[in-house]
């Protein structure tokens, strides 16, 4: 069963050329789909379009985005607001700048969760502390009390992931969720994302530049270049039997521990 279907979707900003051109793919129940590809190829634009969270000037000009049988492109604001957070949650690429710099992290976290769930202060804090600890954040209370500038880049990112996962959404859209994390904490976060699927049956779209993470977590992978989805297939198709020359070049460019050293002459 498909939980989300994106059909011939084109997204434009006001300066004209499409940022996403004619993209089609679907996400099944309990499936993890990764989107990898070129910087600037439209990955963020695509997953923001799903929830109607495009920046001003951005519009879906063609196509459908169907969630649970409902076209989100034509859905009204109220419907979208109901879906956001509860059924579909989003982890933003740049969590740091999506947090308000002059308000404490805990208050913003609570607002995000309580916007769609009735929780007492106490049960919110119990759950939030548990989520932060799962993200391997030490001192959850200090984190909740902090202003964003008092946290490191990766700590803010982990708060963003925790916020997105707290309500156990049916579909999680994660835009570069581990880009600011070192590899040991990345492994911890990846295991939590896997658990969200295995234990709670969530589906996921994961946008990432980390080919190793995409390869480990995904059931299927889409590769984007210059606004188009140049290849979409099972994890093994893309990783082991890539067809498009761009996918091949991307896999070759992954830094490897025993690999090349950059020339110094």
């Amino acid at each position: 069963m498909n939980i989300l279907e994106i059909e011939h979707c084109t997204v434009c900003y006001k300066n004209g050329t499409p940022a996403v051109s004619d993209v089609t793919f679907a996400v099944r129940e309990r499936e993890i789909v990764s989107i990898v590809g070129e910087s600037g190829s439209g990955k963020t634009t695509l997953i923001r379009a799903i929830l109607g969270l495009l920046p001003p000037g951005g519009h879906v000009t063609e196509g459908k985005i169907v969630f649970n049988g409902m076209d989100l492109v034509t859905a009204d604001d109220r419907t979208l607001r109901d879906i956001r957070g509860r059924s579909i949650a989003m982890i933003f690429q740049d969590v740091g700048s999506s947090l308000d710099p002059i308000r404490r992290v805990g208050i913003q976290y609570r607002e995000a969760v309580c916007a769609h769930e009735d929780l007492t202060k106490k049960s919110f804090f119990t759950r939030a502390r548990d989520m932060l600890a799962r993200m391997h954040l030490s001192d959850p209370d200090r984190v909740m009390d902090a202003y964003p500038f008092e946290l490191s880049g990766g700590m803010k990112q982990r708060v963003g992931i925790a916020m997105g996962m707290t309500s156990a959404p049916r579909l999680l859209l994660a835009d570069e969720p581990t880009s600011a994390l070192d590899v040991t904490i990345q492994a911890q976060v990846v295991s939590q994302m896997k658990e969200l699927r295995d234990r709670y049956g969530a589906s996921m779209i994961l946008v990432t530049h980390n080919m190793g993470v995409a390869s480990y977590l995904s059931d299927r992978i889409g590769v984007m270049k210059s606004s188009r989805m140049v290849e979409f297939g099972t994890r093994d198709d893309i990783i082991l039997r890539p067809k498009d020359p761009y996918t091949v070049s991307l896999l070759e460019a992954v830094p490897k521990l025993g690999g090349k050293m950059y020339e110094r002459n």
Binding site: E38, G96, D182, V183, A187, S215, A253, Y262
Partner: protein, 329 residues
């Protein structure tokens, strides 16, 4: 530790050059609700001209704090930082202002270093106009060339920051930092938002510039494989301290600190077995609010012995430019 000892710390004999930056016993403590948060704890490092020094370590271990202290945007609680022998954080007035161009930094969070109403072209031409008093038109033309160097079209000069993707912005920030040939370049997670193919081009560009212009570069990164391939030496940090420092070519097979081993074991290989369990670093993450008496890694270390809990291990020279802070080596 004496000055000469510091100078040689972790250097590879054949790569040793003229000292550019000297960080000596630097610590940073933030007051947090009447408690002390030790973000950087007694770090000493040397960076040579034309050298790339890589830094890896756990999220929150103090990498950006150290970078900001070196960049001069944050004051150390104790310790000394010098560039070409000058203790620049102590400079005042015009001298301080003139010194600023010597160190350029690419910040971890690119969007926050842009002002939303400033065009990319203005942002990129600022350093050349401010420091070198270049006329606007000339600086603008140079800015276009800079964009092309980082793989972006010159037409982006007229765009605003929010009209660029994450990785495009990150490349603009890199372009600005290299615009004025700073003797010291600091890259804090400067390639984390790039796809691996563009990351490869940027890495090659940085390595070439550093060599050609004899720039010293501190390169903070989360991908040990990338950091190893781009830098001459790698420093590994854990809870505010440097726990291992070595020539990059030793990282994979000859690392000695158990935390370095845990880092390398946590990398997801592209050709991994999807059904294999993830290898997790067990145990509680450490808290900078509660520094312990012994080795900070002790509660999570498989090799931990009674001795480890008694004293904080110092960085120890084990030869070949390799330094380790672990009592069991």
């Amino acid at each position: 530790m004496s000055g000469t000892e510091l100078d040689r710390k972790g250097s590879d004999k054949d790569q040793e050059g003229e000292t550019l930056l000297c960080v000596e016993h630097v610590s940073k403590v933030f007051p947090v609700k009447k408690r002390r948060l030790t973000a950087v704890d007694d770090v000493s490092l040397t960076l040579y001209k034309g050298e790339m020094l890589g830094v890896v370590g756990e999220s929150g271990c103090g990498k950006s704090t150290l970078a900001k202290i070196i960049a001069g945007s944050l004051k150390a609680t104790s310790g000394r930082v010098t560039l070409n022998g000058i203790e620049y954080p102590k400079l005042k007035g015009t001298a301080a202002k003139n010194h600023r161009r010597n160190i350029q930094m690419v910040f971890q969070d690119p969007l926050s270093s842009f002002s939303p109403r400033m065009k990319i072209g203005t942002y990129l031409s600022e350093p050349r106009r401010n420091y070198d008093h270049l006329p606007r038109s000339e600086a603008w033309r140079e800015a276009g060339a800079l964009l092309e160097q980082v793989g972006l079209p010159a037409s982006f000069l007229d765009r605003f920051p929010h009209e660029l993707s994450g990785g495009q912005l990150q490349r603009v920030a890199i372009a600005r930092a290299i615009a004025i040939d700073p003797p010291l370049l600091i890259c804090d997670e400067a390639t984390g938002a790039l796809d691996v193919s563009i990351q490869d081009q940027i890495a090659a560009l940085l390595v070439r510039l550093i060599k050609e212009r004899n720039i010293g570069c501190l390169f903070i990164g989360h991908d040990p494989a990338l950091v190893r391939s781009i830098s001459n030496r790698v420093a590994v940090m854990y809870l505010g301290r440097v726990v291992e420092l070595m020539p990059s070519r030793l990282l994979e097979k000859e690392h000695r600190h158990p935390y370095t081993g845990a880092l390398l074991d946590s990398i997801f290989d592209v050709y991994c077995d999807q059904s294999a369990e993830i290898r997790l670093l067990e145990g509680e993450p450490p808290s900078p609010l509660r520094l312990q008496s012994g080795c900070a890694f002790a509660p999570r270390c498989p090799q931990c012995t009674e001795r480890c809990r008694r004293t904080v291990p110092e960085l120890k020279d084990i030869g070949g430019g390799h330094f380790v802070a672990c009592v069991e080596t």
